[in-house]
Symmetry: C2
Subunit: 163 residues, 2 copies
Amino acid sequence: MNGANGAEPALHPEIEPIAFLLGTWRGEGKGEYPTIEAFAYGEEIRFRHVGKPFLTYTQRTWAADDGRPLHAETGYLRPKPEGRIEIVLAHATGVTEIQEGAVAGQTVEVASTNIGLASSAKEVTLLERTFRVEGDLLTYELRMAAVGVPLTHHISAELRRVE
Amino acid sequence: MNGANGAEPALHPEIEPIAFLLGTWRGEGKGEYPTIEAFAYGEEIRFRHVGKPFLTYTQRTWAADDGRPLHAETGYLRPKPEGRIEIVLAHATGVTEIQEGAVAGQTVEVASTNIGLASSAKEVTLLERTFRVEGDLLTYELRMAAVGVPLTHHISAELRRVE
């Protein structure tokens, strides 16, 4: 999408270090946390570009058992000089994240520098994310400190590029 | 979109107070701020639901003169009891917002309670937003305190529901 019309824009050169993420990815993940029961989910992630120096990110998950929608989050990836990256996200659960970190090869590793919480959101204090791409396989994991629990593995998933 | 398949889910009852926002809206806006030149833009906003107690929000603007993409932001609206609402947003410019406020009739009025800034983002300290719908007309305005300027009118737009 490019302004008023729908023409496909050229990739912005600053996006090249994370162009390996572009596409639509689908797969399965597993979650666990000391305060909840372990769970399995299906997931779709879309990374898109619009010709500007950021990628758009939309993600949604659904329960592996009955397909009911679970989590959703959305935001932007902003590559910076010297392999740095900023990621800004909003979660449907009432949480926002500022993430900063590095891109090395086809791995993105970030940690939160700011977490915003709406009044009714659960208390999340720190999030660390790792994304890796090998060919058409995207894996990620997320570590979380929340509701009094120190930084702990929370979810991981494997997704395949479907377009 | 609903889990693994694409079937249209039923509207979650908690969404009813803001169901008047649902749809795709297109129109024009004008921006001004003491630190920049006034500008005109085209805009598209989409409010969608997935059967859960939130709306998804995606927005993008383009320059009125040549159609080049300008701003983009995305997030979720979470209606709460007694006419309250929470809005969580991420901007492509490296900013996140937690917004809280009220829904009265077809007007949503919110102010930021948390703003997150990535290292390379401009300093934004307060954002106030008003959305109003009358029939197929959506108008909004945004007031902003940023880069040392106190809370000041920044942008307003009028959009028509196109689907």
